[in-house]
Amino acid sequence: MLSFRILDFFIALLYFTGALSFLLGLIYSSKKTQDRAVILSIAGFGLHSLDLFLKYILGIGEILTQSQFYISLMAWSFLLIYFFLWWKLKLKFLSITAAPLALLLFTGSLAISPSTLPVPGILQGLWFGLHIGSLFISMALLAMAFGAGISYIYLDKKIKAKTKLSNVSKDIPSLQSFDRANHLAVIYGFPLYTIGVLSGFIWAAFTWKTIFTWDPKEIMTVITWFAFAWLFHKRISGAWRGKKAAQMVIIIFALTLISFIGINFFTETHHSLRP
């Protein structure tokens, strides 16, 4: 529908200008530009929420079977978690990951042509709620921790090497706050990821009457889950903190990205979102 096209265009525009002004604000260490970036992102997020809501209301029954919708929803959950972390940890800085990733996924969702996914009617509610909800939120948490992790490693290296803190690194929040983002992402993210994966396998058991089929998606998911579990354990026990945890989160996020984008779109899998 044309009206949705226009709405989508405006959302993408807001995300784009938001991400751009955050980057510029950081480079020129201008608080005003950074604040403007946040306002733009909030405006984009508001429109995006409306967009998702309208699509859901108007296209009920059909929308849940379209891959576009899920990618758009993923972009939305990234921002949702970003705002959550901002509120919880006062970490506005994570715009650096949230804004570009949301932009990338959202425009990605516009670029692919509509396709239909096989979703059996009886399981729709459960599948949507558990599988998508928990996995998307845990991925969004990972995405934010990914940004925090990169920032942590960068700042840690600077402080350790005793090099001059440039303008950019002066505006960066403290190491501790990045580590707290990592902690939250692991503590909440891992249980959610587990729920998401389990519900997926249960759904598979109902649909295909088999749990594990050596599908690339399934293999990737299990690898990611083990990596995540390991990090979860190390974090809880206090053995890992700071740099090691940051590095691990970066790896895990990369794995989920490969699984979400690489496998869903480019390989033969029964979890395909390909058009």
Binding site: L155, I159, K160, K162, K164, L165, N167, K170, I172, P173, S174, L175, Q176, S177, D179, G238, A239, W240, R241, G242, K243, K244
Partner: protein, 439 residues
């Protein structure tokens, strides 16, 4: 008659500390010293006396060769020193150069430590004093207010006073980069020494939760702990308590290292790898340099901190050029105002303002009348508006002209007129009224 601004002074560049001490002007009252009075050509004065600079700013309609000896004589007399000694070290500026100098001083561009913030407070105190003694008039009032706002502008628009330029502040800044807010952090001070204590004090002022003090002599430990409201312990117990400390400042006279990397490794296990920041101020060093290799631990010794300070200072010097540009702009604005203090530009401005208002209103009313209004009505309206404005401004102009013939008070009334009718199109700062109430 035209008023001129003069500035005479000594600072850390023009005079040694002994000279500056000799010519300090603490408690100097221009009126008591006979500098100002009915007969004197000096109309306004302001005296700034700090340990790095002593300056007198005055406003007078006399020439420099008349004002200069007057000021310097009473300065030397107040300090009971030789006039010639003062003359040798003094610098003087006139009019816009004086304004430029004062703005630079206020913005801390002329300070020994570039960008240090104290000078602005000292200047504010000096101004308050001159207001109290009633030695500040229209020009000094305006001059000082503008110097404060220029300094504020420079502080927000440039980074000339942003990064830390002392060892102890650099340590606090680094601690902030590691821990963020310091309210949950605890520090341990090992040994004592001026710089270590200063760093501890700055950390406490930045919101640190509390401080532990370990010292070889228990009495000294007690004393320091009391000062910092912390917990004292003897040196032998230090390692047992180390795991409770997030920030460790070490400054003992020990000849070998007192904490090794492997000991820190043990401590880290105890505190579940929570980050630690070690500051080694001692020479020779107290802490094993390998500590910095451990994950989640950061070690800075005195040389590292000195380097940070050096780099920050270099950064400030770069920013100072930007700041000087702002000073230039502000001086331009001030000179514009200074010129307008004459009577005729003010009258012209006043009449222009009136005419502008009249024309705007005529246009509006004519539009309301519509195209059908006849020529006679239009003419009558135009005449009404312009003559109304002329009549309204007539009395103030007569008043100003009369006052300007009297000695001394014209500046005040011209300034008042400009402010009442807002001829300089200024916007009052949001907190203008609060400031007034506090005074």
């Amino acid at each position: 008659m035209e008023q001129r601004i003069y500035l005479f002074g000594l600072n850390h560049k023009s005079a040694d500390v002994e000279i500056r001490e000799k010519f300090a002007l603490t408690g100097f009252d221009p009126e008591v010293s006979g500098l100002m009075g009915q007969e004197s050509p000096i109309k306004e004065t302001l005296v700034l006396s700090t340990c790095n600079r002593v300056e007198i700013i005055c406003v007078s309609d006399a020439e420099l060769d008349e004002v200069s000896p007057m000021i310097l004589k009473s300065w030397a007399k107040f300090c009971q020193q030789e006039y010639s000694l003062l003359e040798k070290h003094i610098y003087s500026f006139q009019d816009l150069k004086a304004v430029d100098h004062l703005f630079s001083v206020a913005a801390s561009l002329d300070s020994m430590v570039l960008g240090e913030p104290q000078i602005l407070g000292q200047l504010k105190d000096a101004y308050r004093e001159s207001v109290k003694n009633k030695t500040a008039g229209v020009i000094i009032n305006r001059l000082l207010h503008k110097s404060f706002s220029a300094a504020k502008r420079i502080r927000t628009e440039t980074e000339v006073s942003s990064s830390a330029v002392s060892i102890s502040y650099a340590a606090v800044e680094l601690a902030r980069k590691i821990f963020g807010e310091l309210q949950d952090q605890r520090a341990m001070l090992i040994g004592a020494g001026e710089m270590a204590e200063l760093a501890a004090l700055h950390l406490l002022n930045s919101g640190l939760k509390d401080i532990m003090v370990a010292n070889r002599t228990p009495a000294r430990a007690q004393e320091l702990a009391q000062r910092f409201k912390g917990q004292a312990m003897c040196m032998e117990k230090m390692l047992d308590h180390l795991h409770k400390a997030d920030i460790v400042i070490s400054s003992t006279g020990a000849t070998s290292t007192i904490i090794s990397a492997s000991q820190v490794k043990e401590v880290l296990k105890k505190r579940k790898n929570q980050p630690m920041f070690f500051i080694d101020i001692a020479v020779p060093r107290d802490l094993d340099p390998d500590i910095n290799m451990l994950d989640n631990v950061y070690l800075y010794d005195i040389d590292d901190l000195k380097e940070v300070v050096e780099e920050n200072l270099a950064g400030r010097r770069e920013e100072a050029d930007k700041a000087r540009e702002i000073v230039k702009q502000e001086v331009d604005k001030f000179s514009h105002w200074l010129k307008s203090l004459d009577l005729s530009p003010t009258i012209v401005d006043l009449l222009n303002r009136g005419e502008a208002i009249a024309h705007k209103e005529i246009k509006k009313s004519l539009r309301n009348l519509g195209p059908d209004a006849d020529e006679a009505t239009r003419k009558a309206m135009e005449q009404l508006a312009t003559s109304l404005v002329g009549k309204l401004y007539h009395e103030p102009i007569i008043f100003l002209k009369r006052r300007s013939r009297e000695e001394g008070s014209s500046d005040k009334f011209i300034d008042l007129t400009r402010r009442i009718f807002n001829l300089d199109n200024e916007q009052a700062p949001e907190n203008a009224h609060q400031n007034r109430k506090r005074k």
